[in-house]
Structures are given as C-alpha cells and as structure tokens.
C-alpha cells in the first residue's frame, strides 16, 4: 500500500472518486465463449479492467512426468500485456505474476472435479489487456466462467472481489487510486454459499475492520456471481432446447 503523497480527497458528500458509494461494485460486463480455439473462454470488464480468460483441457500433460495418475492437474497462468499498465511492462512472468497465478489456481481448484480426468491437465490462461486495480479478482471471475464454458465439471462457481480501506473507511472493489494510496487491500474469492477459496490482505486493519471488510467483500462476490450466472444462462436463453439423450442407463453420480 502506498502513501497518500498526492493528497487525494477520497470522499466527497459520501461518494468516492468515481461517484460510487462505499459498498458499490464497479460496472461489470461478462461475455462468454469469445475465443474459437480455446475449449472455453470469457471476456470481462470490471471497472477499467479488461481481462480475457481461456481454458484448454482436459488435455494431455506435457512434460509427461508432471501427470498425476488419479486426477487432472490444474495450471493457471496470469499474465499482463505490456501495454496494459501506465508504464510499459516487460513481457513475461515476474515474481508477482507467479504468486498471483498460484493463489488464483488455489482459488479455483477446490471446486473442480479433477478426479474425473486422471493423467491430464486443465490449463487456465488469463491475460490482462488493461489494468485498473483488482486484476486478480477479474481474472478469477473470468476463469470461473471460462471453465464452465469448457464443460469442466465443478461443484460450484467461484466469484472474486476485493475490499479496501481508504481514509479509514472500508470500501468495496477499490479502483486504481484507492488501491495505490489506500491503507489496505483485501482480495477474496468464494463459492456462492460463502466458502472462501482466496484470501489475502496487505495494509493495516484492526481485527474488527478485518471482519467487516471480509463481510463486505463477500457481499461483493455474491453480486459478481449473479452477473456470471446471467451471462452463462443468457447465452442459451433465446433457444428452446430439444436435446435427445440416447443413453438408457445414466450412471449414478458419486455421493460426495
């Protein structure tokens, strides 16, 4: 977290720099199935973030020695395009993207039924095309939709959102200035029923603030979930499905 050198006034008449209330999400747009080659894909705009996620898999693992005999491995690669930030970023992964990739993968893996695809890999690729604070949360939201679009079996969707602290006040879904000059940033990800799969914080919060911020971020995640759900369902909304199944004895699903 930075210092407020710029001496920005974050609140005016109870509204934030972008005219939002403290507990309001930035505008969110989700498009499903935007890439032809990928098995599943999603484009998301979250505030000024423009992020695209693609899923390839399950597919053969290369190199072979990485494969696991009883389940699929999940790989997540978060990458920022050189032109995505104010000062051009050198291409390729840096330490931050390694960490982000790890925690993002760990945010999604709990709901993926990897045991259905032994000896294979599910690859998730996230490219940040334009960055505006909260790229990791946008990436996870897009990845979750892309995984569904690819037909990957999952116990639930994952939705992600951050809470922040600015001028001593807790805010939902911090924008760039709030993230750069605020006092704390807490990105989370969860299932719609409140099981948390990503939790990070840096900055300064009392234990009470932490609990409030967590509840606020969880509320934000629920709002994101509704948008994810609508995007997936709308994709096939206009048609009246007429699917014939030729199977006579569908298998029992395992009791988890």
């Amino acid at each position: 977290m930075g210092e407020n050198d710029a001496n920005i006034t974050f609140f005016k008449d109870g509204l934030r720099l972008d005219d939002r209330r403290a507990d309001e999400l930035r505008p969110l747009k989700i498009e499903v199935g935007v890439l032809a080659r990928a098995d599943g894909s999603c484009y998301i705009e979250m505030g000024g973030n423009k992020v695209i996620a693609a899923v390839y898999g399950p597919r053969e693992v290369h190199p072979r020695h990485l494969q696991e005999v009883t389940r699929a491995i999940v790989r997540y690669r978060y990458n920022m395009a050189s032109f995505s930030v104010e000062e051009r970023k050198r291409p390729g992964p840096d330490r931050r993207s390694y960490e982000l990739s790890k925690v993002s993968r760990e945010a999604l893996e709990p709901v993926i039924l990897t045991s259905y695809f032994p000896r294979s890999v599910i690859d998730v690729f996230v490219e940040v095309l334009q960055a505006d604070a909260g790229t990791r949360t946008a990436g996870i939201n897009a990845a979750s939709v892309a995984l569904a679009d690819a037909g990957i079996p999952m116990k639930n969707m994952i939705s992600s959102c951050a809470a922040g602290k600015v001028d001593g006040q807790l805010v939902l879904d911090p924008m760039k200035e709030e993230d750069n000059y605020g006092e704390a940033d807490m990105p989370i990800a969860m299932t719609p029923d409140g099981q948390i799969t990503l939790l990070q914080m840096d900055g300064h919060m009392t234990p009470e603030e932490l609990k409030t911020a967590l509840a606020m971020a969880m509320g934000g995640c629920r709002q994101v979930y509704e948008v994810q759900r609508k995007a997936l369902i709308d994709k096939y909304n206009q048609m009246e499905p007429e699917i014939i199944t030729d199977q006579e004895q569908p298998q029992e699903a395992e009791v988890l």
């Binding site: 330490r95 390694y98 790890k102 709990p110 409140g194 948390i196 300064h204 919060m205 234990p207």
Partner: protein
C-alpha cells in the same frame, strides 16, 4: 503441499486429531520450541538464525547505497528473496525460485513492508539520486514445516540486529537500523475441520488450507495469505485471526525485545 505421505501415516495423524492431540503431543494452537540467534554472519550487516521445532532458517541482511525507484525518489528500497536450497529438503530442486519460494519471499516482505517496521524515508541519502537498499535474503536450511513463520521471524530478528554500514561508503558513522514495529507471522492449517497452528511437515502435507496472519505490535493485522486448495468459512477465519493475535503477542514478548 509437501511430498507424499503414506496412507498409514495419514490415517494415524487423522486419528490423533480426532482424539484432540497432535502427533508430537502439542495443543492445536501451540508452537514448537523457538530459538533465535542474532549476528551469526559477520559479513552481513544483520543476520539471524531461527529454529522452529526442527525447521531451520538463516536470514541475512545486506545494505548498500543505490538508486531509488522512479516513483518513490525519497524512499529506501527493500528487496526480499528466499532460497529453498536442495540441502534443506528432498523435495527442493536446484534452480531459480519456484512459486513456493516466491510466495514465501513475498509474504515475508509483506510483513516488513506493510507494518512499516523500517522507516523508508529515513533511508534516503540524496533525494532522487541515492538511497539505502536493504536486501533481506532468506536461506532455508531445514524444512520441517512452517517455513513462513520461521522466515518472517528470522527477517525481523535480523533487521533488529542490523547496522547501517555508512562508514564503508563514506556516508557517516555506522549506526543501528531503526526499527519501528515488530511484525510477526503466525500460520495455521485446517484439516478435518480442525485448525492447528505451526504445522510440521507431515501436518502441512495433509492440510486442506493454510492461512498466515501477520500482526503488528499493537495487535493490528498487516497481512493475510491463504494458500492450499481447501476452503475456509468466515467463522474459521475469525477464529484463526483471533488466536493468531495471541500467539504473535507471546512470540513477540519472548523473543524480540524492543
């Protein structure tokens, strides 16, 4: 998370947990024995060797003048790195840091940076041109679980023993590096609905999730990191945060005098 545990050992650990104990007899929120030795590396500006149970970590601090980052011309620079060298564990391979090593370094860095333990503005030599750069290098010697807590403790202990080598560069007299806070990382794992602090390597390998809480001297939280492929509900998170604070306070009082 760590290497594969045999089914028999996993079951054994699980059964003990159901009975309410851990394999080494500790309580669920109890830490292993901690020992800290400071100033162990003469050539480093500061150093500390931490033993946490059988885990061992050596942290060295090197300081030299250098250029500030363009967006903070009046502030010193902290660079944190962790080396998971092969001698520390059968699962560590030679080569550049992998995601585990990178995550470890970044969490240790978060504790030092977000707590503002080091006054970066006081490290400015000539605004816009020269500032002190602090290298925090974590060298893992023996991985027996909970390297994050051991490394974070090593980092702050090493910083507390650090002398700014001003005379070497003709920048005045050597003096102790001023430290303003004592961030402590406390890590818990969740397994079978039970929360355990300071996991050893067996416990780490059966854990569903791991949560690290970094607290400052006044009990505030300056960092959180969940890792692992499990889920946590808010109640567990609150529980971990509360106990983490108590554990951190105890460790701070016992080992780090102000």
């Amino acid at each position: 998370m760590s290497s594969v545990l045999s089914e028999i050992r996993k079951d054994y650990l699980y059964n003990m947990i159901l009975k309410g104990t851990r394999a080494d007899g500790r309580y669920f929120d109890q830490y292993r024995e901690i020992s800290i030795e400071r100033g162990v590396i003469a050539k480093a500006e500061g150093s500390a060797r931490v033993k946490l149970g059988s885990s061992q970590v050596l942290v060295g601090i090197k300081m030299q003048p250098g250029e500030p980052f363009p967006d903070s011309p009046n502030r010193g620079v902290i660079i944190t790195n962790a080396e998971l060298v092969p001698l520390a564990s059968p699962t560590f391979e030679p080569g550049p840091p992998n995601e585990t090593g990178i995550e470890l370094a970044r969490v240790v860095d978060r504790g030092v940076r977000e707590s503002k333990a080091v006054d970066l503005e006081a490290l400015c030599i000539t605004p816009g041109k020269q500032v002190w750069i602090i290298f925090i290098d974590v060298h893992i010697l023996d991985d027996c679980g909970n390297l994050i807590d051991a490394s974070s403790l090593g980092a702050i202990a090493a910083l507390l023993s650090t002398k700014v080598p001003a005379s070497k560069f003709g920048l005045g007299e050597d003096h102790p590096l001023p430290i303003r806070d004592l961030p402590i990382a406390t890590t818990a794992i969740e397994f079978g609905d039970v929360v355990m602090f300071d996991p050893d390597s067996d416990e780490e390998s059966i854990a569903n999730s791991r949560l690290t809480v970094i607290t400052t001297a006044d009990g505030s939280i300056c960092g959180l990191q969940k890792s692992g492929t499990g889920v946590l509900n808010p109640e567990k998170i609150h529980h971990i945060v509360d106990i983490a604070g108590e554990n951190a306070k105890e460790i701070r009082e016992k080992f780090l005098e102000v």
